[in-house]
Amino acid sequence: MGIYDRHKADKAGDALFKGISYFFALSVILLMALIFIVLLKESWLSLKTFGFGFFVSSDWDPVSGSFGALPAIWGTVVSSLIAIVIALPISLGIAIFLTEMAPKPLKGPIGTAIELLASIPSIIYGMWGLFVFAPLLSDYVEPFLVDYLGFIPLFRGAPMGIGMLPAGFILAIMIIPFISSVARDIFQMVPAMIKESGYGVGATKWEVISRVVIPYTKSGIIGAVILGLGRALGETMAVTFVIGNSHEISLALLDPATSISATLANEFTEAVEEIYLSSLVELGLILFVITFVVLALAKLLIKKTALEGGRR
């Protein structure tokens, strides 16, 4: 083969390889667009039939074909917020323990263990919640809550171990490894010199943590929390087992509720009527849009922190 032929073949090979890799990179964008288009198309019937009323109606009646998303949206948002409220202090506690307190030989193993626990499939958390945690809650914790905190409307309801609060709790356990490993990585980025300056002027360990480490890493922590929120909003299996699947909106957190993902998991294969299926797909579309916005926000926030960190 002459040198010119070979040069031509190389050029063709280059163009081909670049073209193929470009195609697959574009396929990611295409996939996202396709998910939106397909969900929009399939939920068109429901969008047309119920319009904006879908968001504010709490009807969910497959027999008469009347659907509203409010209970599912309410359940998704409230259970995720409960999860964040519980998971945030514990995750920060774990991160502080791992970066500032744990003796060196413990740091590695505990850190790795927490990261490994993040890889356990979510269905395991859900199943454990149903078989182990729910009976425990209904026997010991929830009657106590109703008796002593029942004057607050939030802590009322049937103490069955299944409902909004248990779902939020299981979600919290699921996202703890996730938030705490991100928070630990962020805490480790605080320059030692800044912390030592704190100790140098006589600050206690807690004062250094609360007035130097946490303010320094604030946006990163917010980003990690929103990322955890994004996970919690879309989580299906951990919630479906313990939320109770009731399309009633109740302020009492011990009452059964539902979420978008739990409704989909339980009802999707049973939906025969077009309008039923279409309403379920619209629920999926709503979930997709909510998580898209939340995750995009988290990403922009973390990116901003990284840029600011670089400037400092």
Binding site: Y22, I94, S119, V132, F268, T269, L295
Partner: protein, 280 residues
């Protein structure tokens, strides 16, 4: 002055105790779950668990051989679709479009898709494949898992390829090798360990997925060797057995939970060992 000092010391002790306590709280819960999965799963696991079909509802015995095969088949097909696509997309991000706008958009969307709700992917594949082609199938399940893998593999492949020093690329280019040969024979070789790790983690992650399989591969109580038929998987079996009324089903569900958890954890540990081997 002295009182002020004591107060600060007390606050310090209290706060540190609180964070140690919350760390212990979190860690105890996480290990509690593991302990239960092991103690309740072990009794269900015997030879017939791996070799026999599920017994008819309400009767004891049988196994989950078909679900084990189903999880394996679907994960393998998903890997065969998702991994090459992801590596090539990552190649574009690292080797060709490093600073282009397209690459920025691809990165942004990948990062969002990584954390996107997996059940929505199930709904999407249902509308795209299951309904038009008339039924649940192993292929549909594999496509759903491949969609979940794609952004994960894309981002890891990009990160790992970027770690290969530019001097290596330049050395190969200076010898007259065309760009694609440099990428395939030199850059890939340099990043193989990292990419393998990423792929292993992605495979472990999707093998434990349930939500995207509920409306795609569905379930099946019998052997199924056709990719176009509904197929049982371990995770969907856990879901339906755990929700079911029979004690024996619950025991089987714990067994399946133990099996899938140990595989996922072992792959994760193995991947970490490979990665550590590189830095050493």
């Amino acid at each position: 002055m002295n009182l002020h000092y004591l107060k600060r010391k007390a606050v310090n002790m209290a706060a540190l105790a609180a964070s140690a306590f919350s760390a212990a709280f979190g860690i105890v819960f996480l290990f509690w779950i593991l302990k239960d999965v092991i103690t309740m799963g072990l009794p269900a696991i015997d030879l017939s668990f791996f070799t026999r079909l599920p017994a008819p509802p309400g009767t004891e015995g049988g196994g989950l051989a078909n679900a084990i095969l189903g999880t394996f088949t679907i994960t393998v097909i998903a890997t065969a679709i998702g991994v090459p696509a992801g590596i090539l997309a990552g190649t574009y991000l690292s080797e060709y479009g490093r600073k282009s706008h397209v690459a920025d958009v691809v990165r942004f969307i990948s990062d969002i898709l990584v954390s996107a709700p997996s059940i929505v992917v199930g709904v999407f594949v249902y509308a795209l494949i299951v309904r038009p082609f008339g039924g649940f199938s192993a292929i549909a399940g594999a496509v759903a898992l491949a969609i979940i893998m794609l952004p994960v593999v894309t981002r890891t492949a990009e990160e790992m390829l970027k770690l290969v020093p530019n001097a290596t690329r330049e050395a190969a280019l200076a010898l007259g090798a065309p760009h694609w040969k440099v990428t395939v024979l030199v850059v890939y070789r340099g990043a193989i360990r990292g990419i393998t790790t990423g792929v292993l983690l992605a495979v472990a992650r999707v093998s434990g997925e349930t939500a995207p399989l509920l409306f795609t591969s569905f379930n099946n109580s019998f052997w199924n060797f056709k990719l176009t038929e509904p197929t049982a998987t371990l995770t969907v079996t856990i879901f339906s057995y755990a929700m079911g009324p029979y004690e024996d089903w619950h025991a089987k569900a714990w067994g399946a939970a133990l099996l899938i958890t140990s595989v996922v954890l072992l792959v994760n540990i193995f991947a970490r060992v490979i990665l550590r081997g590189r830095s050493a």
